[in-house]
């Protein structure tokens, strides 16, 4: 029975993580795009005049999309049309089952592995489920009975099939190096050090494979520069053109969920997953007290610094707007001061004298934290690339996939196999 509750808790954590990440990513996308383009970005939606630097906008969006009229095209295939957004969303969420977000957590003396389903064919599961995503897209494109959505669906299918091959080939090298299809094994394998100083991350042992995988993931998630399935200039909005209201929101969220899974895979397979470089689990547990103390002090200092920055804004922007917005810097300063005080206060609890049980929990949380940091960074990479690179032309996309990446992937595989066989 415990295992059921454990699994439910882990699924719940993953679901909350992804959904939370979706909101944060939407915010990051908007603000990031704006700042990259020298704009201020969304800064209007507010609760009681507090705008949280645009973080309220996703909330406003949710309400807008929930209450919008659900316009459906005539001549659609009713069942498939309604099924498609759910399929896309469900598949996007399912992939997370095999991604470990930490090593294990000791709860009541039991070691609970921090992964929903530790499949021995985890990588195959990911490849299989990711391919299913194509169905949702092509269904949406076809069922809406619109030439633009149809073209979008066809483009998406051709693109996904082409890049899945490259993705698989890139992963083959990784599988050869770590000799396992189980993702936890691959992550655990990345804790070692090469020559005593270089973390044996996937990116280190498979640099070419990493680049191929990164490009393929971008193509699989239909993100720029591979977002041809929704190329506005040619096919309006592609496969989800005829969707509105919450059905559109599902596609929208699925795109970001795909980004999160993409980021999670990159982090897990090529950047050591939850592993903190040079700090393997035993070291973490052994020095838990010191590390925790350092961390609390660091948090307190950084928060204080941010609070001071806010204080400068308080002084500089006094009465700038003449309404509730003027209170924002005050609120920000207060919030960070509270964090600083809390962190400093926690020092009173003598964190340097933490017991072995506490040390184990700290080690687990620190690893989950490391995973989240990597996840957020690679999710940001998606956004960063989107606002840097222009979109490919379709023939360029296909040429890259079949004439450049496929031979490179094969070469990588052969070289890896030779090296693995010889060493």
């Amino acid at each position: 029975m415990t295992i059921v509750w454990e699994s439910l808790a882990k699924i719940g954590f993953m679901f909350a993580l992804i959904m939370g990440m979706v909101v944060v990513l939407i915010w990051m996308e908007r603000k990031g795009a704006a700042y990259i383009q020298d704009r201020t970005g969304p800064n209007r939606a507010a609760i009681l005049g507090i705008r949280l630097a645009g973080l309220v906008h996703p909330v406003a969006d949710v309400f807008k999309l929930l209450f919008k009229e659900d316009i459906t095209p005539d001549g659609r295939h009713r069942a498939l049309y309604n099924l498609a957004p759910w399929l896309v969303m469900t598949i996007a969420l399912s992939t997370y089952a095999v991604v470990p977000f930490g090593d294990f957590l000791t709860v009541a003396g039991r070691q609970v592995p921090l992964v929903v389903a530790d499949l021995d064919v985890g990588l195959l599961f990911i490849l299989a489920i990711a391919s299913l995503g194509t169905y949702g897209v092509v269904m949406a494109g076809w069922a809406a009975n619109n030439k633009f959505t149809f073209l979008g669906g066809v483009r998406a299918t051709a693109q996904m099939i082409s890049y899945e091959i490259n993705m698989g080939l890139a992963l083959m090298g990784l599988i050869l190096v770590f000799a396992s299809l189980r993702i936890t094994d691959i992550t655990a394998g990345q804790a070692d050090l090469l020559w005593g100083w270089l973390p044996k991350w996937g990116v280190v042992v498979q640099p070419l494979g990493f680049i191929l995988f990164l490009v393929s993931v971008f193509a699989e998630t239909n993100r720029n520069p591979f977002d041809l399935p929704e190329g506005e200039s040619e096919i309006v909005a592609g496969y989800h053109l005829e969707y509105s209201s919450m059905k559109f929101a599902l596609f929208f969220m699925a795109e970001y969920a795909h980004m999160v899974i993409g980021a999670a895979l990159i982090a897990t397979l090529y950047f050591g997953g939850y592993q903190i470089p040079w700090l393997p689990r035993p070291a973490l547990e052994a020095h838990a007290g010191t590390l925790l103390t350092v961390k609390l002090v660091a948090v307190a200092l950084v928060s204080l610094l941010i609070a001071l920055l806010f204080m400068r804004r308080v002084q500089r922007e006094k009465g700038k707007f003449g309404d509730a917005r003027d209170r924002e810097p005050v609120l920000g300063m207060g919030l960070w001061l509270v964090v600083a005080v809390a962190a400093a206060g926690a020092l009173l609890l003598k964190p340097w004298a933490i017991g072995p049980a506490g040390a184990s929990v700290f080690a687990s949380l620190a690893q989950v934290g490391a995973f989240l940091v990597k996840l957020v960074f690679f999710a940001w990479l998606f956004i960063w690339v989107r606002w840097t690179l222009p979109r490919f032309r379709y023939d360029q996309l296909m040429r890259l996939g079949w004439k450049v990446m496929l031979p490179l992937g094969l070469a990588n595989l052969v070289v890896t196999a030779l090296v693995v066989a010889l060493v």
Partner: protein, 168 residues
């Protein structure tokens, strides 16, 4: 795709091996965007974005805003309803109904003068065409908003006293 035989532009020169990999160029691009991002995070105030309703751009005096009808000294419209403006209007947004003026010296005046601001393209040809300097677009008003299409059709009285924001 091959374009043999076509003149090659400067952009089509042979790529070096480093360029043909693109990776380096992609990284450089990421560097450019990151530079902008970081600069803007720490210098929010220097962004060119205007916080529109609070801040407004100053336009040139020659900016073509919403139309107005000029008046004679007695306050009646200068317009003689010759319909040159509605004739020249490329958007066909001016509708004039002429009537007989009691003063035989004026003879003709607009009984109704309507402009559909939604159709107007603000080209200023009506000003150019007007033989009586009766229509001008010098109000500088560009904030034209309403909650129904009907309200964008403004009438003679509105155009004669067209100095405030909003529509009818």
């Amino acid at each position: 795709m091959s374009f043999e035989g076509l003149p090659q532009g400067s952009g089509a020169k042979e790529k070096s091996f480093k360029e043909s990999l693109y990776l380096w160029e992609v990284l450089r691009g990421l560097g450019v965007t990151l530079r902008h991002l970081v600069r803007n995070i720490f210098h929010t105030g220097e962004m060119p974005t205007m916080q529109y309703p609070e801040e407004k751009r100053v336009y040139s005096d020659r900016f073509r805003g919403r139309h107005r009808l000029t008046k004679r000294e007695d306050g009646s419209p200068r317009c003689v309803a010759c319909q040159m403006c509605s004739t020249v209007c490329p958007a066909d947004c001016i509708t004039i109904v002429a009537a007989e003026h009691p003063d035989v010296e004026i003879e003709k005046y607009p009984d109704s003068f309507e402009i559909d601001l939604l159709r107007c393209v603000y080209c200023g040809l009506c000003e150019e065409a007007c033989p009586c300097d009766a229509i001008r677009m010098d109000t500088g008003i560009y904030e034209i908003a309403a909650d129904s299409r009907e309200k964008f059709v403004v009438d003679k009285d509105f155009l004669l006293n067209n100095t405030t924001d909003g529509t009818r």
